[in-house]
């Protein structure tokens, strides 16, 4: 392989934290620091080894808190896909020799913040150009974030005959994985009827088509393939990466409601990795809503456009199915603190290291973490693999 990025960097440490109560005790920078320590401990590295830092709001503020001096930094925020982009950028920076050990960290505690009446409440306005969605979409009462996703689902149903039952299958299969994750918020069995009986929110989406709102936090550590060989855990190599975005906060600007920019990022990442969909042992596909995951299956080529509904029937993405998807229980049943993409990477890494116990995917060598940010706006695909997949 001549690709300058493939296999040159590896995730060597991960941590993620959530609770069946949906709440965590720590919050803010303290929680981020705890995640960084846990991920570095996992790798057998210390804070002194870190020379690159990623954060989806301010890598500078995190570095200040930790009193470290990164020589490479990335505060890219594309919403939920931020951490896949951090992984892409970090792998490229490490391959180019700009830095050696990169940490990306995330923590958010919306559930306990709401209960305590604390936490940051962002105000619209401030610096920068006006947000056109406030002028052209806010007046019409489209609830965010679920409304734009409902619009994509309604269009998908119209074009391809996709049904609410098929969307519900995704929630059901994901819950079956969550049943095997002790950290998951919801672990009780779920049926298609349960999903369809849950209250309609923005029709066609039911409550159980929607992700959780929970506290959660995580971090990953990435370093060069050379250095990774000597560390505590088996390296999980970055085999491919791709990113694309085709709109931002306006769903009316999305070029095609039923095809995301994942149709660009996915093939790019797969080509770099030298894999096809058939080679993927598990898919961690951002499931903010059931429709989100369905679109990933099509756009990444696991099935043809329009066939996602039929694909997810009969538990194909459930435990025992041919394509294990969201094996931690996903944003639908494990945790969703707002920007869920970190947990795609931590679970993919743990699966490839064979550490997932009851929910372990047998002989997993290639995993895909596919993040989706804002409202189906920015897609970022990371292909990860074991040494055997190099």
């Amino acid at each position: 392989m001549s690709d300058p990025l493939r296999g040159r960097a590896a995730i060597v440490g991960v941590a993620d934290l959530a609770s069946p109560t949906g709440e965590l005790e720590l919050t803010g920078r303290g929680l981020e620091a705890a995640m960084i320590k846990a991920a570095l401990d996992d790798a057998g590295l210390t804070l002194a080894d870190v020379d690159g830092l990623c954060h989806a709001q301010s890598s500078m503020a995190v570095a200040e808190y930790l009193r470290i001096t990164p020589k490479w930094t990335d505060s890219t925020n594309t919403g939920g896909s931020s951490f896949e982009i951090h992984a892409e950028h970090a792998a490229a920076a490490i391959a180019a020799g700009l830095c050696d050990v990169v940490v990306s960290v995330y923590a958010n505690t919306p559930r306990s913040d709401r209960k305590r009446g604390t936490g940051f409440r962002g105000r619209p306005g401030g610096w920068g150009p006006p947000d056109p969605s406030m002028e052209w979409e806010a007046a019409f009462g489209l609830r965010r974030p679920m409304g734009p996703y409902a619009m994509a689902a309604a269009r998908h149903m119209h074009e391809f005959g996709t049904t609410s039952e098929q969307l519900a299958e995704i929630a059901v299969s994901t819950r079956a994985w969550a049943a095997m994750n002790p950290q998951a918020r919801y672990r009780d069995p779920l049926t298609v009827d349960d999903v369809l009986a849950s209250p309609l929110q923005v029709e066609p989406l039911h409550l159980l088509d929607c992700c959780l709102v929970t506290d959660g936090a995580g971090a990953f550590v990435m370093t060069s393939a050379e250095r990774a060989k000597d560390l505590r855990r088996p390296p999980v190599y970055v085999l491919g990466a791709g990113t694309a975005h085709d709109h931002s906060a306006m769903i009316s600007e999305m070029p095609d409601l039923t095809t995301t920019a994942g149709a660009i990022s996915g093939p790019k990442a797969f080509a770099m990795a030298g894999i096809k969909a058939d080679d993927v042992d598990l898919l961690m596909g951002y499931d903010s809503f059931t429709i989100t995951a369905l679109l990933h299956l099509e756009d990444l080529g696991f099935c043809a456009k329009g066939e996602g509904g039929a694909f997810v029937e009969d538990g194909r993405t459930a435990p025992g199915g041919s394509l294990p998807m969201n094996t931690n229980g996903g944003g639908l049943s494990y945790t969703h603190p707002g920007m869920y993409g970190m947990f795609l990477l931590t679970e993919a890494t743990k699966q490839l290291r064979g550490e997932c116990g009851e929910r372990q995917v047998a002989d997993a060598e290639v995993a895909v973490a596919h993040g989706s940010g804002f409202i189906l706006s920015c897609m970022s695909t990371i292909v990860l693999g074991t040494e055997a997949a190099l």
Binding site: E135, A139, L142, G147, M151, A154, H158
Partner: protein
């Protein structure tokens, strides 16, 4: 004419979009066009997103459109001030632009993808109007 609704979040115009909103005082729907590309531009911008040129002007629009997608909010209070579920849609104007709106004048369950609709106007508090759509007559 009904009283101005108070539940609406009322749009704040930019320099580029002011002609759009001023025309709504007379219940006229106008759309920005790039004269050089002979192509419509929406949302209104200071430059054409195709050619990056600034030769832009506003032209009357027919007010005719087709529903591209439609969803129904079942839990939140309607911005129209009416009770019960309400429909939010993306509509494709005959001129070739897509915009978000509420479809009114029909039960939300009867609003379908592909339905022909036409513009109707809801008063805002300052004399402007908000373009909504209703089933085409």
């Amino acid at each position: 004419m009904s009283e101005p609704k108070t539940k609406r979040f009322e749009p704040v115009a930019t320099a580029a979009s002011t002609p759009f909103w001023e025309a709504t005082r007379d219940r006229r729907l106008v759309i920005q066009w790039c004269v050089d590309d002979e192509a419509p531009v929406h949302f209104p911008r200071d430059v054409c997103p195709r050619c990056l040129g600034t030769n832009l002007e506003y032209r009357p629009a027919s007010g005719k459109a087709v529903v591209h997608t439609v969803v129904v909010e079942h839990q939140m209070p309607s911005p129209t001030g009416d009770d019960g579920p309400y429909a939010i849609a993306l509509v494709d104007l005959d001129e070739g632009v897509r915009m978000m709106t509420n479809v009114v004048g029909a039960a939300p369950a009867d609003v379908t993808v592909g339905m022909a609709v036409q513009v109707t106007w809801e008063p805002l508090s300052d004399g402007r109007h908000l373009p909504l759509f209703e089933p085409a007559s």
